[in-house]
C-alpha cells in the first residue's frame, strides 16, 4: 500500500447510475476503512480538527477505526455531530478538514469524510444508538425547523436534559436534507431518516405540519405553551429568479421546485401521485451544488442537460466531487455563458434560451473576476425546460411575525456569534436563516453554539 495515496472508494459506473436514483458512492468496507485509517499519522497538533466547523476529534475516531473498534469510533464522533452519515457524504471536506490534513502536504489527505461515513453507516447497520441523555430537567425549549441546524440544536439540548419540541412546516423532518439534496447523493430512508430517528431517540419530539408565524407565533409559543427559549433554524428557502423575459413560461422551474417534486414528493417514482415535468432538453442556470443536483436529477429523468454558468470552471461554487460526477454522467457545461431571455412558443411553453458569451474582467468586491458580456455574441439554445438555481434567501415569515427580531437587508436574522441569541431575549437562531445559504456543517455548528447559548441563558435565568 502506498501511504501517499488514498484507498479508492467504489462508485456506481457513470453509465449505469445516470439512469437510476441509487447512491453514487458505495463507501468503504471494514478492511478498506482500516487501511485508510492506518494512513493517519495521529498528529499531536491535528490541523484537520481546526478545519472542521464542529471540531470532531478526528485523530481520535480514526485511531479506533484503525483498531477495528467501530462502535467506540461512533461514540467519539457522536459527541460532536448528530448527523455523521450525512456529513460524511455532503460536507465540502476538500476545503475543510481534509484541506488541512498534514498527509495532504506530500500526498493525498486522509479521506476523513469517507471514514466518518463508514463509521456512521456501520453503527446504523449494527443498531448502535447514541448514548442516552442525562436526567430530564423538565424545562421546555422550542426549535423551529427540522433541518441540520434545528436537529443539532435539539439533539444537544436533549442530551443536556431539556424537554425539546421541533416544529417543522413540511410533512417530513430533514430540511434541505430531504427536499433538496437528491437520493443518489444522500439516501433518504436509510441515511437521513435513521439519523433523525437517532435524534428522536434522545427524547426530542418532532411536530410536523406546523408553520411558525401562521399556525402559531413565537410569542404564543413562549407565552401560552410554556417554552422558555426558542431556536430558529428555518433555513433560507426562498428561491431567486433572474427577472429576464419568459421566466414565467411553462417549463421554467426553480431548482427548489424541481428538486422538491423529485426528492420530497418522490415524483421520480411512479407509485407516487406528484407529477414532474422531466423535460427532454434541460438547461440549469447556476453553478453551485444546487445546480449540480438539479442537473443530475434531470439527467436521471432522461433529459439531455446543460449547465449554464456565467463565470469559468475555476469559479464554480459547487463541490469539486459533484462537478466531476456530473461530467462523468454526461452533463454538458456551457461556461462563461449568461441567459438573456427565455424563448416561449405560441402555447406558452419554453422553446429555447437566448444566451450571451461572457469573458472575465477585473476582480469585483468578492475578489472574483467579474464576468462581462462579449458584444454581439448572442446565440440560441433549443430547450423545453429551464431550471433556475440562482440561490435562495431566508423566508420572511418568521421575522415578519415576531416582535423585535432584528434582520439585515438580506432578510437574514441577526444572531450573536458567541451565544446565538437574537435581538429578542430568549430567542436564538442559527444556520441558513442567519448566514444565508451555506453548508450543512456550518448550520450544525450554529445549532451547537446556540444549544450551549440556550443552556447558559436558562441556567442564569
Amino acid at each position: 500500500m502506498d501511504v501517499l495515496k488514498r484507498v479508492p472508494v467504489k462508485e456506481q459506473d457513470p453509465k449505469v447510475r445516470a439512469g437510476n436514483f441509487d447512491e453514487v458512492c458505495l463507501g468503504y468496507d471494514l478492511e478498506e476503512a482500516k487501511d485508510e485509517a492506518s494512513r493517519c499519522i495521529q498528529c499531536k497538533n491535528p490541523k484537520c480538527v481546526d478545519g472542521c466547523p464542529v471540531a470532531i476529534d478526528i485523530p481520535g475516531f480514526i485511531r479506533e477505526v484503525e483498531q477495528g473498534n467501530i462502535e467506540e469510533a461512533f461514540h467519539i464522533i457522536n459527541k460532536y455531530s448528530a448527523l455523521p452519515a450525512v456529513c460524511g457524504r455532503v460536507c465540502p471536506q476538500e476545503i475543510q478538514c481534509e484541506a488541512r490534513c498534514i498527509r495532504g502536504i506530500k500526498g493525498e489527505p486522509i479521506s476523513i469524510g469517507k471514514l466518518e461515513r463508514f463509521v456512521a453507516d456501520w453503527a446504523r447497520e449494527n443498531k448502535i444508538k447514541p448514548e442516552a441523555p442525562m436526567e430530564k430537567n423538565g424545562r421546555k425549549v422550542a426549535v423551529i425547523g427540522a433541518g441540520p441546524a434545528g436537529l443539532t440544536c435539539a439533539g444537544d439540548l436533549a442530551k443536556m436534559g431539556y424537554d425539546v419540541t421541533i416544529f417543522e412546516a413540511l410533512h417530513e423532518p430533514g430540511g434541505v436534507l430531504v427536499y433538496g439534496i437528491p437520493e443518489f447523493r444522500l439516501p433518504k430512508d436509510s441515511v437521513v431518516k435513521a439519523e433523525i430517528d437517532n435524534v428522536k431517540s434522545l427524547g426530542v419530539k418532532i411536530e410536523t405540519n406546523v408553520i411558525i408565524g401562521k399556525s402559531i407565533t413565537i410569542d404564543e409559543l413562549m407565552e401560552e405553551e410554556g417554552f422558555e427559549a426558542v431556536f430558529i433554524g428555518s433555513g433560507a428557502g426562498l428561491p431567486k429568479f433572474m427577472g429576464i423575459p419568459g421566466e414565467n413560461a411553462n417549463g421554467v422551474f426553480s431548482a427548489n421546485e424541481y428538486l422538491t417534486r423529485s426528492n420530497l414528493m418522490k415524483a421520480f417514482d411512479e407509485n407516487y401521485d406528484t407529477p414532474i415535468i422531466a423535460g427532454k432538453k434541460v438547461a440549469v442556470v447556476g453553478g453551485g451544488n444546487v445546480a449540480m443536483d438539479a442537473a443530475r436529477t434531470a439527467l436521471r429523468l432522461g433529459a439531455k442537460v446543460y449547465i449554464i454558468y456565467r463565470r469559468s470552471e475555476a469559479e464554480l461554487p459547487a463541490r469539486v466531487e459533484e462537478v466531476h460526477h456530473a461530467k462523468e454522467e454526461g452533463v454538458i457545461f456551457k461556461l462563461l455563458t449568461n441567459p438573456k431571455e427565455i424563448l416561449v412558443d405560441e402555447n406558452g411553453w419554453v422553446s429555447g434560451m437566448r444566451c450571451v458569451e461572457m469573458e472575465l474582467g477585473e476582480p469585483d468586491e468578492s475578489g472574483r473576476r467579474r464576468p462581462v458580456e462579449k458584444e454581439g455574441s448572442d446565440f440560441n439554445i433549443e430547450l423545453d425546460t429551464v431550471i433556475m438555481a440562482l440561490g435562495t434567501s431566508p423566508n420572511p415569515l418568521i421575522s415578519s411575525t415576531t416582535k423585535g427580531l432584528k434582520t439585515n437587508n438580506h432578510r437574514c436574522i441577526y444572531a450573536d456569534k458567541e451565544t446565538g441569541m437574537t435581538s429578542r431575549e430568549g430567542v436564538f437562531a442559527g444556520g441558513d436563516a442567519v448566514t444565508g445559504a451555506a453548508t450543512v456543517i456550518l448550520a450544525m455548528g450554529a445549532g451547537k453554539t446556540a444549544a450551549k447559548g440556550i443552556d447558559d441563558y436558562l441556567r442564569s435565568k
Partner: protein, 300 residues
C-alpha cells in the same frame, strides 16, 4: 382506526362530485381566518393539495373544506369516509382576507358584492359569515353551470342581505353568467358597489375583473395556481401582479384583480394536466412503460 391524526369527523356530498369535510386539526382551527387555505396530503404517496378553508370551529377544533373531485388526487380524496384520517393537514396558509384587518369605520361605509363561481362558494362562505357575525351587510352572487352545481346556498343566504343566483342554462335563478348578473344589478337595478370580491375559476375571475374595471369597482380575487409546499419555498405558485412577481402562497392568495395577469396564470395552471394524464396511463399499463428510450416518457 388509522395511524394518521387528521380525522374526518364529517363528510357530506354537496352536489355531484363536490364534497364537504370537517377535519380535526387543532392548531389550524385555533388560528385560521377567512381567506386562508390549508394543504392536505392524504397518505404516504399523495400529493400536497391546496384547499381553501370554508369554515372552522375553534371549540371542536375542526376545519371545513369543500372540494370538487376533478382529477386523480381529488377523486381519490373523495373516497375517504368519516372516521378515516389524512396523513397531513397543514395550515393556515396565506394571508387572511383584508376585510378582517380593515377598520370598522371603513367597513361600515363599504358597499360590498361577493361573487362566487362554482366551488368558489366555499371560500366565499367564511367571508360573508364573518361579515354577518360582525354586523356588516353585503350582497352575494352565486353562479354555476346548472342548478345541481349551486352549493352552500342556504348557508350563504343566512349571511347576506341579498343573494342572487345565476345558472348558465337557466335551470335555477337567473339565466346567464355572473357578469350578466353584475351588469343587471348595477345598470338596471341601480345598485352601487365599491368593492367586489370574486372567487371562482380563473376564467370567471378574469372576466369579472374586465367588467369591474370598466365599471370602476375595485375587485379582489383569490388565486389558485399550482402549488407544492405552500410556504414560499418553491416558486411554483408565482404570478405576475402589476409589474411584480408574487408567490400566491405567501403574498396571497388574495390580490387586486385588476393587476393580475390572468392569461399567464391560466397557462401556468395547465402545466401538469398532460403529465397527470400520462401518470394515469402509466398506472393502467403498469411497469411495461418504464424503460428508457420509450418516446412517451420524453415528450413534453
Amino acid at each position: 382506526m388509522s395511524e394518521y391524526i387528521y380525522t374526518i369527523t364529517k363528510k357530506e356530498s354537496l352536489a355531484d362530485s363536490i364534497f364537504l369535510m370537517d377535519i380535526k386539526a387543532p392548531r389550524v382551527a385555533r388560528n385560521c381566518y377567512p381567506g386562508q387555505f390549508v394543504i392536505v396530503k392524504m397518505d404516504e404517496k399523495g400529493e400536497r393539495i391546496p384547499l381553501t378553508i370554508c369554515d372552522y370551529d375553534r371549540e371542536n377544533e375542526t376545519v371545513t373544506i369543500v372540494f370538487q373531485a376533478i382529477g386523480t388526487s381529488t377523486k381519490r380524496m373523495a373516497e375517504f369516509n368519516e372516521g378515516e384520517a389524512f396523513r397531513d393537514f397543514t395550515g393556515p396558509l396565506g394571508h387572511r382576507s383584508e376585510l378582517i384587518d380593515m377598520p370598522s369605520e371603513e367597513l361600515e361605509k363599504r358597499k360590498i358584492l361577493f361573487v362566487a363561481g362554482g366551488v368558489g362558494a366555499a371560500p366565499v362562505y367564511p367571508q360573508v359569515k364573518w361579515m354577518k357575525d360582525h354586523g356588516y351587510d353585503v350582497d352575494c352572487i352565486i353562479g354555476a353551470r346548472n342548478k345541481e352545481l349551486i352549493i352552500l346556498e342556504d348557508r350563504i343566504k343566512q349571511c347576506v342581505s341579498n343573494l342572487y343566483i345565476t345558472t348558465d342554462d337557466g335551470s335555477y335563478g337567473m339565466k346567464g353568467n355572473v357578469n350578466d348578473c353584475i351588469k343587471e344589478l348595477v345598470n338596471n337595478q341601480g345598485k352601487e358597489y365599491d368593492l367586489v370580491i370574486a372567487i371562482g375559476p380563473m376564467i370567471m375571475m378574469k372576466f369579472v375583473c374586465i367588467l369591474t374595471k370598466e365599471l370602476g369597482i375595485k375587485t379582489i380575487v383569490s388565486m389558485n395556481p399550482i402549488m407544492v409546499d405552500g410556504t414560499g419555498m418553491c416558486g411554483a405558485c408565482r404570478l405576475t401582479v402589476g409589474n411584480e412577481i408574487k408567490f400566491a402562497c405567501v403574498d396571497g392568495p388574495e390580490f387586486d384583480g385588476h393587476l393580475v395577469n390572468f392569461d399567464e396564470a391560466m397557462k401556468r395552471a395547465q402545466m401538469y394536466r398532460s403529465e397527470e394524464g400520462k401518470k394515469q396511463l402509466k398506472a393502467m399499463e403498469g411497469h411495461t412503460h418504464h424503460h428508457s428510450g420509450c418516446e412517451c416518457h420524453e415528450e413534453k
